[in-house]
């Protein structure tokens, strides 16, 4: 079950989405979304591809007409307004830089296009472009064409172009996925710094949970067009609302096992040899058969199964620095702290209260 955010009209919420739906014929891309985005927050919309996150963002931008529902930005109903009247800007996954314009003209484009609304003259445009470029440290690239820039530089130009009009909301559609892994961590850090210092409201769409956990003040987990959970990275990870959220976040994902009329799960890193648990009374004991061990440097990833659930692969992630020897094809006593075991409804996948674990597993 999803836990919809209380829809009280907080004065600080800058975007208010109610009952938003988008159907493409039979496909329900977005299927009833209620969401309040707070002023100045970094909100991440996380979900697997096809979950409707990009469609949701495109509707906020005004590029997609909702089938039903309303979007308010800054207290004004913008559902039927074109993008230019919404005070939003967007950074696309491809950066969508205008290839025939140099960096200066790329950044100046929204200012010129909205000259009438923003009331800028030529000199003001020049000043805005230069100051925004300085902020993003691309002021020495203003004469270059996009194809003469590196991936990281292109991304900065795209962000500068999106920021130059001082939008109420900055929408970012997987802007880091085109960068190589080394650049990405750096870009993530810079993006967060930049968002904090400029105090802009950012909505960031991604399928990458590490990006989501690292960047988001709050994360919206989406699946099949619906919001599954909204919360801080920690609350979503530690207190998943349902089985989807529980298994979508975390790598390797949560072990899910069948209980008596319900399902339950625990994360591999919480599933440790009994001897490592300092308080065995609060823990649940399992007989664990170790099939195979992968040495991953900082951790050992253990593949095996619980005695009594031989057909359900169960993983354990044991830190390498704990000196417990784990031999393959052997039985061990493993334990999970009681509070780290989550219970789910067998039919709906929603979280349920603690259940009695069948004797078979112990």
């Amino acid at each position: 079950m999803s836990r919809p955010l209380a829809l009280s009209r907080l004065p600080m919420s800058i975007v208010q989405i109610s009952g938003l739906k988008k159907y493409f014929d039979a496909v329900h891309a977005v299927d009833g979304v209620d969401l309040a985005i707070n002023q100045g927050e970094f909100l991440v919309i996380l979900g697997p591809s096809g979950c409707g996150k990009t469609t949701l963002m495109r509707m906020i931008a005004g590029l997609e007409k909702p089938t039903a529902g309303t979007i308010e930005i800054g207290g004004e109903d913008v559902t039927k307004l074109p993008p230019r009247k919404r005070g939003v800007s967007m950074v696309f996954q491809s950066y969508a830089l205008y290839p025939h314009m140099n960096v200066f003209n790329n950044i100046a484009f929204p200012l010129r296009a909205q000259r009438r609304e923003l009331k800028f003259d030529k000199r003001a445009i020049r000043e805005k472009v230069v100051s925004t470029a300085k902020l993003l440290e691309i002021d020495m690239l203003l004469d270059r064409r996009p194809r003469q820039l590196s991936g990281g530089q292109r991304q900065r130009v795209a962000i500068a172009r999106a920021m130059v009009t001082k939008p109420a909301v900055l929408l970012l559609d997987e802007p880091l996925s085109n960068l190589d892994a080394k650049l990405r961590a750096n870009a993530r850090d810079e993006l967060k710094d930049f968002q904090r210092s400029s105090d802009i409201t950012a909505v960031f769409v991604t399928h990458d949970q590490i990006e989501a956990m690292g960047l988001g003040d709050r994360i919206v987990v989406m699946s099949e067009g619906k919001i599954q959970q909204i919360g801080t990275p920690q609350s979503i990870y530690d207190d998943p609302a349902n089985e989807f959220v529980a298994t979508f976040l975390g790598s390797p994902s949560m072990n899910i096992l069948s209980g008596n009329g319900f399902r339950f799960g625990f994360r591999p890193e919480h599933f440790l040899p009994k001897t490592l648990h300092d308080n065995p009374e609060n823990s649940r004991l399992f007989h664990y058969y170790v099939k195979r061990v992968e040495y991953l440097g900082s951790d050992r990833l253990v593949y095996g199964y619980l005695r009594g659930s031989e057909d359900e692969l169960t993983l354990a992630k044991v830190p390498s620095n704990v000196r417990v020897s784990l031999d393959i094809e052997s039985d061990y006593e493993f334990a999970v702290h009681n509070s780290d075991i989550k219970f789910f409804d067998k039919a709906t996948g929603g979280r349920i209260a603690q259940q009695n674990l069948a004797q078979a597993h112990t």
Partner: protein, 308 residues
């Protein structure tokens, strides 16, 4: 293990199969383009006629004779003028139509289909149609103008019952240019449509979010981005038109007097109808360096234009 030297089945040989696949294209180029082209060059430097097919080398004699011929100069000038004027209209119409046809509207498929017909129809058939439309006496256009009071006694355009579309110096040239524009616009439009639909949707979405309206997006994003493709479209229609003889051959035979005589037709008339193969070849070869230079210039422009 050594391979047995069995006589291989020819289709197992990659080189043979490759050549086989290339053969139709190679044959076409060699027999229908290369050979006639070389023959034309050989003819141009000879004194060959329909009556006497001996090839005697006469140097630049044909070219000098052609160049000093006043009719040739006029024909050359007419060809360039027709080509340039029609290109301007083709570009304007093709751009407008390509933009219309890339919008969403009901009946788009049918409209596109109707619109492509002028290009899909064989030239000579289409020209026979136009010959009737522009007939000196029975032109349906004249009939409509007559009924609406533009023609006839006290008519706005003329007191005559006819405008003589293909018979007066001005109107005959306008008619030929108009028909050429009618015939070539579809191809240019299709090429431009391909160009417009190749612009990434992200770029157009970005422009929309950036607050750009229709005209700004058109003039500052779409047209600059399809400029290289526009050059290709222009190149195609210029080269087709520069060498074309069918339109004027069917409509006017170059008349009245020499007003609509173009290079292709003149070469045909001198070389084939007049029997002077050598001079006919020389006339047509005058177009070659010009077209070559044009093609090189445009292809360079297109490849230099910066598109990601």
């Amino acid at each position: 293990m050594t391979r047995l030297a069995l006589p291989a089945f020819p289709l197992d040989n990659r080189r043979f199969v490759g050549l086989l696949f290339l053969a139709p294209a190679l044959l076409y180029i060699l027999l229908l383009v290369g050979f006639p082209f070389l023959l034309a060059i050989a003819f141009g430097f000879s004194d060959v006629t329909v009556g006497n097919t001996d090839l005697n080398f006469v140097g630049l004699q044909n070219y000098l004779a052609v160049w000093e011929n006043d009719i040739f100069r006029q024909v050359f000038e007419t060809t360039i003028r027709f080509t340039l004027i029609s290109q301007i209209f083709i570009l304007i119409f093709a751009n407008i139509l390509a933009i219309i046809f890339t919008q969403d509207f009901t009946g788009k498929w049918f409209a596109r289909f109707i619109f492509i017909l002028p290009w899909a129809t064989p030239v000579s058939l289409a020209m026979i149609g136009w010959l009737w439309m522009l007939d000196t006496k029975y032109s349906p256009i004249d009939y409509l103008l007559l009924q609406t009071g533009f023609l006839g006694p006290n008519g706005i355009l003329s007191n005559n019952r006819n405008l003589f579309w293909l018979a007066t110096p001005d109107l005959s040239q306008i008619s030929v240019i108009f028909v050429q524009v009618w015939r070539m616009t579809p191809l240019a439009t299709v090429i431009l449509m391909a160009g417009l639909s190749s612009i990434p949707t992200d770029i157009l979405d970005q422009a929309e979010v950036d607050g750009s309206r229709f005209m700004r997006t058109l003039l500052q994003i779409k047209l600059p981005l399809i400029l290289p493709i526009m050059v290709i479209a222009l190149l195609f229609s210029m080269i087709t038109m520069f060498g074309d003889m069918t339109v004027v051959y069917v409509l006017t035979r170059g008349g009245p007097v020499d007003y609509t005589r173009v290079l292709g037709l003149y070469s045909f008339q001198v070389g084939i109808e007049g029997g002077n193969l050598a001079q006919g070849a020389a006339i047509s070869l005058f177009a070659f360096p010009l077209l070559l230079a044009m093609a090189i210039f445009m292809l360079r422009t297109a490849s230099r234009a910066e598109v990601q």
